[in-house]
């Protein structure tokens, strides 16, 4: 398969993730959609790495995975903290900074 198939697929998955982030209201699901976007970019990285014939892209992809893991950890920690303080788990509730 030509590389561009993978790239177009990655674009499609990325767009799906964006739509999810904008549409969903639960922070948990928003984080999941963020994972989608990260994965899409990982796919693109791997594809380009295959195109170049070097493994630099793979390294990059592993680092992306590390970052994603950290981000998930912190985000879920926030959600747990919110739950413990009986703050509603809904991004639309946090709007004190409205003008």
């Amino acid at each position: 398969m030509a590389i561009e198939w993978y790239l177009v697929l990655s674009a499609l998955l990325f767009a799906t993730g964006v739509a999810g982030v904008l549409i969903r209201r639960s922070p948990l699901v928003i984080l999941l959609c963020l994972e989608l976007m990260l994965n899409a970019s990982t796919l693109a990285l791997i594809a380009f790495s295959r195109m170049h014939g070097t493994e630099d892209g793979h390294i990059y992809a592993i680092v992306v995975m590390v970052v994603a893991a950290c981000e998930v950890v912190v985000g879920l920690g926030l959600i747990v903290a919110m739950y413990k303080r009986r703050i509603p788990i809904d991004v639309d509730e946090a709007r004190r900074l409205e003008g």
């Binding site: 398969m1 030509a2 590389i3 561009e4 198939w5 790239l7 177009v8 697929l9 674009a11 499609l12 998955l13 990325f14 767009a15 799906t16 964006v18 739509a19 999810g20 904008l22 549409i23 969903r24 639960s26 948990l28 999941l32 959609c33 994972e35 989608l36 994965n39 990982t42 796919l43 791997i46 295959r50 195109m51 014939g53 493994e55 630099d56 793979h58 390294i59 992809a61 592993i62 995975m65 590390v66 893991a69 950290c70 998930v72 950890v73 912190v74 879920l76 920690g77 959600i79 747990v80 903290a81 919110m82 739950y83 413990k84 303080r85 009986r86 509603p88 788990i89 809904d90 639309d92």
Partner: protein, 195 residues
Amino acid sequence: MVEVAFFAGAIGALASAIAVVVLKNPFFSVLALILHLVSMAGLFLLLHAEFVAAAQVVVYAGAVMVLYVFVTAYVGNVDEPLADHIRGQRPLAILFAAALFIEISVAILGTGLKALGQEGPVVDPGFGTPEAIGELFLDRFLLVFELASILLLVAAVGAILLAGRRDKRSDRAAGQGPAAATADDPSVANAGGDR
């Protein structure tokens, strides 16, 4: 043969991605994501990225998603309402996402890079193996490796601070605490937060 594998993986990834976005129950979304990750691993294998594929399954699908499952179970299933009270958010979101996809596709397909139209150079069997990755990590990308480790450490400490156990003692020591600092018992099956 490769095409079949590609399309199988692609359809699986796409379908589960859509499922993540669409399903109302967060738990089902989590499961859909796990499926998505596995499909992606398959696609990675097609691209000769063996180590990354394995890491994807073991670390991502294995550890990170488990975290998700735990938290979803803790927080509980909260069904989102159907209607969106931000005017035009849903149609606009889909519109912009579609626009984004079209732009990127145009950029990719219309590019002058001829290499994209091909399958890639012939690689020796050692491509993408753990040895190759390990060599790179300790050779050219040593700094990256170290920084990634520090990042993981910071994240771990941060997570503990964020969601650490708060009993009355540590609240008083911190000098402040939420007014309702009694939510210590996780088994209270409260229906999440109020709307």
